[in-house]
């Protein structure tokens, strides 16, 4: 982190840090395919406030991206289907809105950044045109105004020589620069919330660092909410405020970032942290979580993680654990900490 978040809200008084923005309640999503019904999201709850970064951590099949796509309303339906739940944006349930109302929120209030910037940009239109399009469509700006705003945006995401490069096409930019353009696009209408789905996975480490820093700086500037979806424990540790760990379509643990890394309260989180090699020390044999990632067509009974868990008991094989409030040894509640494990006490304190 290069700069500490400044709390000046000069000109940006729209968003007050801490204002609740989005709340996902008990969301269920499934896919009907010819192989059966895949239960991708099985009761997810999370919330994010202005100025806050929520990291949703999970592997393939954890439902992290499906949840995000459902929030954005860009999930393919069919085969996807929301079977239950609410998505409240500033208190209003987006799932009950008309398509027209949702379209107004999309891009303007909630924007998304994708992993693959090259395929998200139209190759036959110049970058400036694509950035300016947002203003022409949503704000009825003229061509000239749109272009000026496009240059301003490119400046804001620190693209060097923006005025000269505004007419270049996406393939003329490097991977890191393209991801900056995607970020500029997401920022264009100054949304309240940005959802970034694996924004740096396709980038090299040195470029990754640049892009994550940029996101953090912009967030400090605008106080928007940020949902960062990733599988990378390292990226999360660098930028997130709080973390929701997902497994087989459920949240298995939520915690403030420091607590999660220091003292995980779910065996899956604990296993993940132990299984990644460290840069700053040469370890012995790695701890490996046994077995395979969950099969969504056949989620195990009870806790979905039980076949891979070292401490699973008979209870874990029959009863789905609720998301318990985590307490310390004296029984005092730990703020923001929850764990969906029958044995969270043993995991946390043992």
């Amino acid at each position: 982190m290069t700069t500490a978040p400044e709390k000046t809200t000069a000109g940006q008084d729209r968003l007050v840090p801490g204002t609740p923005l989005l709340e996902v309640r008990d969301l269920h999503v499934e896919f009907k395919t010819r192989d059966g019904v895949a239960k991708a999201v099985n009761g997810v709850n999370y919330s994010v406030a202005a100025g806050e970064t929520l990291a949703v951590l999970g592997e393939s099949g954890s439902g992290k991206s499906v949840t995000a796509q459902t929030i954005m309303g860009i999930l393919d339906m069919p085969p996807g289907r929301v079977t239950a739940g609410e998505i409240l944006f500033r208190g209003q349930d987006m799932l009950k809105m008309s398509n027209e109302e949702r379209r107004k929120i999309r891009g303007r209030k909630i924007a998304m950044i994708f992993q693959d910037a090259l395929s998200s940009l139209n190759p036959v239109l110049s970058v400036g045109y694509q950035l300016g399009e947002m203003f022409r469509v949503h704000e009825g700006a003229s061509r000239k105004e749109a272009k000026a705003k496009a240059i301003e945006l490119m400046d804001r995401v620190r693209i060097p020589a923006a005025a000269q490069r505004v007419n270049d096409y996406p393939h003329q930019f490097s991977g890191g620069m393209r991801q900056r353009i995607m970020i500029a696009m997401a920022l264009a209408l100054e949304p309240d919330l940005i959802i970034a789905d694996e924004p740096t996975t396709a980038l090299d480490v040195t470029v990754q660092a640049q892009v994550m820093d940029l996101l953090a700086e912009l967030q400090a500037e605008y106080h928007m909410g940020l949902i960062l979806i990733t599988h990378d424990l390292g990226v999360v540790a660098d930028v997130a405020d709080k973390i929701a760990v997902m497994y087989a379509g459920r949240i298995v643990e939520t915690a403030p970032v420091h607590d999660l890394y220091a003292r995980p309260a779910h065996p899956y989180t604990k296993g993940l942290l132990r299984s990644i090699p460290r840069l700053d020390q040469k370890g012995e044999e790695l701890y490996a979580i046994k077995g395979l990632p969950p099969n969504l067509y056949k989620v195990p009974a009870g806790c979905a993680f039980n076949p891979r868990c070292d401490v699973a008991t008979d209870l874990c094989r029959t009863e789905i654990p609720a998301l318990h409030q985590v307490t310390d040894r004296d029984g005092a509640e730990l703020a923001g900490r929850k764990s969906a494990c029958h044995l969270w006490k043993e995991t946390l304190h043992g």
Partner: protein, 338 residues
């Protein structure tokens, strides 16, 4: 050090850039690998790290003879294998095998697992007599931790981690001495990566394998490697033991790379000083003169633009800092403090 099993000398791979449809004229070359030298000792793991476009995957292809080297030598037990073809090349292939990055595209979807792992025996019938092949394939499945009964299944019936095990079994079939692993775990889920890495380490002990482990993930490379080479834009910029590279890096690029790696430890994030490099990697078709890293380097001076720094141990440095580094101003710097 143990005797080198593989020695690479001044290896060069250029891809010509041509213009014109009918009468092609060479107008330049992409210098994917441009003068790389290193050795691999028996039973050792050499990690190669670098960002996309640094030439590490091309290096693997040239070592595997899947691409012809433009210049330089690849000595396997003293014999140059980079110019071999026909039966001589086929014989060498028995000793050098490869594990691929993408377990989804590296297995033929129309063949059963038995056929995939058994194919090396069909190509090299001298390795396993016909009657024993099925048994040999089942043994290999067992070695890589898969149920031998899965022999008649097709690749799409397996998950990513299991497929990578199948790819490893295929690489092991001919009992090679060297296995080149090109990003073998980067396509896998985090929880499965550790399983595959442990398997690779276990197999190394069991079969006395030498590994060349190519990856962009510095943490994994440190975990598995005895020595590590860092590549930038077709050149090796620094090479040494894992401690020399990770704790006493002297090349500015290595230092920047290490400082940029996100560490899964939020308490470290305030204390760590990061070097954020400006700009992008220049095009390998038109690399900078002199030191290739100079365009992004904070130490660059005039000398760097004119004089190519050699990969050698700086005489001024002592201890672990004294290892091969291609920088005129090689010096240690405190990075990645735990």
């Amino acid at each position: 050090m143990a005797e080198p099993i593989l020695e690479v000398r001044d290896l060069v791979k250029h891809y010509p850039l041509t213009q014109g449809v009918l009468f092609k004229k060479q107008v330049g070359a992409v210098k994917a690998v441009d003068g790389v030298s290193f050795t691999l000792a028996k039973g050792e793991t050499l990690g190669i790290v670098g960002e996309s476009g640094c030439g590490k995957s091309t290096l693997a292809k040239v070592l595997m003879n899947l691409e012809r080297a433009t210049a330089g030598q690849v000595l396997y037990k003293g014999e140059d294998i980079s110019r071999l073809s026909g039966a001589a090349l086929k014989a060498v292939r028995r000793n050098i095998q490869m594990v691929f990055q993408d377990p989804y595209t590296s297995l033929n979807p129309r063949m059963t697992v038995g056929d995939i792992i058994g194919e090396p025996f069909e190509i090299h019938p001298e390795v396993a007599p016909k009657g024993d092949r099925r048994k040999a394939v089942q043994d290999l499945l067992d070695v890589v931790g898969l149920n031998p009964e899965y022999i008649n299944r097709y690749p799409h019936q397996f998950s990513g981690g299991q497929r990578q095990r199948i790819g490893i079994a295929r690489g092991l079939a001919l009992k090679p001495e060297i296995i080149i692993c090109d990003e073998p775990v980067s396509a896998l889920d985090v929880s499965v990566q550790a399983q595959v890495i442990n398997l690779l380490e276990q197999l190394q002990g069991e079969f006395e394998l030498s590994y060349m482990f190519i990856a962009h993930d510095l943490s994994i490379v440190r975990h598995i490697s005895d020595r590590v080479g860092v590549m930038y834009l077709g050149r090796m910029v620094e090479i040494g033991t894992d401690a020399e590279i990770y704790e006493h890096a002297t090349h500015p690029y290595t230092q920047a790379l290490l400082s940029a790696v996100p560490v899964p430890d939020p308490t470290g994030r305030e204390g760590r000083e990061r070097i954020i490099l400006s700009g992008d990697i220049p095009s390998p078709a038109n690399p900078p003169s002199g030191c290739r890293f100079r365009t992004r380097c904070w130490k660059a001076e005039e000398r760097c633009a004119t004089e190519v720094p050699l990969l050698a141990a700086p005489t001024l440095l002592t201890g672990d800092a004294r290892h091969d580094s291609a920088c005129h101003f090689a010096a240690e710097r405190e990075v990645a403090a735990a």
